[in-house]
Subunit: 340 residues, 2 copies
């Protein structure tokens, strides 16, 4: 890196949404890049992540992380290459991923980095998806909370998504029968053909409830829930004794103000001695590499497949989260950056 990089392009949070953030809540700005101080490194982001949880990061309601401040760079995972370093642990050319934000370049003291990406035989983008927060989430949430056993029926909502598709395949590797809940024929087909689900049902279909029952003749042992709402209500009616329900996301609820109501779950849990448990991947930060060591060989041998949907350029960022909630993506949504 002989020419110093002097300017940055960033997606800032302009105003605070209530519910799902839309284009108008962000603005793209060009700004000067400060010089590196001792202990800092400069990362050229190659891929930015887009994920449902980012809705929670920008809303004011008490959540599992402090909300992004108005006027600051949108918080996000990103993966990139170290282009300059005054940090003893990082050298130019290192691949890294971490909470680097929606911007072309990130200056960090290393505290926002999650890991060096050592799988150089695989695309760097995977460190944001199947070998990143999505895969790690799927792995720990399914194995630690879902505790799948051979022969179990595992039902997954948003089954074609970045997390869901990994869940289905990891459950399959564990010897389970897997049932996908997804929206529309294209995603159903993707679940069956690409992600190896044993059955796939469309929650948008008028026959959804009957289709689900038909797909789960032995009941449901593990429900991996990314949606909440009516989809979950339907699944809960089929849980087996000692079922495990993993609460990983609430994608079907567009707004928690006012807080939505639904059929009470207590009786289901009591009658079936069942368990419903929330999963936050942050709780497993210290075990991140353990998951990657499990997942990477499965990716290499083809038993864990993935889909990426790559948006081009930071200009696609402002609408990217809203698009997730419109259900328009097939696979892990990423933004590939184009540096001048």
């Amino acid at each position: 890196m002989t020419t110093p990089i002097r300017s940055n392009v960033q997606a800032l949070l302009k105003s605070r949404p209530s519910g799902i953030p839309q284009s108008e809540h962000f603005e793209i700005v060009t700004s000067a890049l400060p010089a590196l101080e001792a202990g800092q490194l400069l990362v050229r982001n190659e891929f930015l992540s887009v994920e449902p949880a980012m809705r929670g990061w920008v809303n004011a309601a008490a959540n599992y992380s402090d909300p992004v401040a108005i006027g600051s760079v949108m918080r996000s995972f990103a993966a990139g290459v170290v282009v300059a370093s005054r940090h003893p642990a990082y050298a130019e050319g290192d691949q890294v991923m971490g909470m680097l934000g929606w911007q072309h370049y990130a200056i960090t003291d290393g505290s926002t980095l999650r890991r060096k990406v050592l799988e150089r035989d695989l695309s760097l983008s995977l460190s944001l998806g199947v070998l990143g927060i999505n895969g790690v989430t799927a792995f720990f949430a399914l194995t630690e909370i879902g505790q799948p056993r051979p022969g179990d029926t595992v039902v997954v909502s948003t089954a074609a998504g970045a997390v869901g598709s990994a869940v289905g395949q990891i459950a399959k590797i564990a010897g389970c029968r897997t049932v996908a809940i997804t929206g529309g024929a294209a995603k159903q087909q993707l679940c069956l053909d690409e992600f190896g689900y044993d059955a796939a049902v469309d929650y948008k279909s008028p026959t959804f409830a009957a289709d689900l029952a038909h797909a789960c003749p032995q009941g449901v042992d593990v429900y991996y829930d990314n949606t909440s709402g009516e989809i979950s209500d339907a699944v809960l009616r089929h849980i087996n004794k000692h079922a495990r329900i993993v609460i990983c996301g609430t994608a079907s609820v567009s707004n928690w103000e006012p807080w939505p109501s639904g059929p009470r779950v207590e009786r289901h849990l009591l009658n079936k001695s069942a368990r419903m448990q929330g999963f936050l991947v942050w709780d497993y930060e210290h075990r991140y590499e353990e998951a990657i060591r499990k997942l990477a060989p499965w990716v290499r041998d083809g038993s864990l497949r993935y889909r990426e949907e790559i948006l081009e350029g930071i200009a696609s960022a402002p609408d990217a989260i809203a698009g997730l909630y419109r259900g328009e993506n097939l696979g892990k949504r990423l933004i590939r950056l184009h540096h001048d």
Copy 2:
């Protein structure tokens, strides 16, 4: 037993209730007692149990046990003395408890017996309460699902009840701060004076929400839920990271047809990585004696106190369950039988 007993008095289920069973759903009948066959024994019931779960046993809805058939003896735990035996494992004078039904005498082949009651220094009635299903429920549900740690705040609904009062005291023995939720001043006082709760709040008070918040300045680590409904909704707003919610009963819901709605719990569980799990004591049948061995010394040394409310005579049986749901009892409700 030199004079053979020839007649029995039984409380039969006359018609199937929808919701809470009332007096009119039962009838008291006198019938002839058949002679003992080989392998059978005759138990003179001394105490009959009355508990909230019996509502579920008489309703038609799919539940965790088959409903009691119309015209048959009301299913219940009872404790008594063997008065005749043609069974090799039981002798006259043995104290036993088991699913002996609402009747003066029970003939059994032993399969309906849960245990011989060996604590002869204590009242036989305790085998139906604090040293019976209530104590065993409290012990395993709290320790296995609630997993209390010293310093945790443990909130208990129906805190003065047969299960709740034991939960509070076992949590106290485990080093927790205990908060009672109960109805009315008399039960509040009982919780504080008799069962050693650190605080007691009245769910019937207009200031309940504020009182609860005030009683839980450090939030809630374990919620032992016997009620469901609005009481639980209020508690969930205060749960801490990694909280455990034990679903042990749904006393505040008088009817599950139609299924009631309430604020969705998924977001609470997700934001706090919290767990909500149903508990059925039947799952711990094989560990019953293990609990009794823990509980009996606490009863003897006074660290586990209990209240009994004893109704006199089988004629009090038909209204006894309804009375529980009216909240009129203080302590474990039992029926003492008067044999002619």
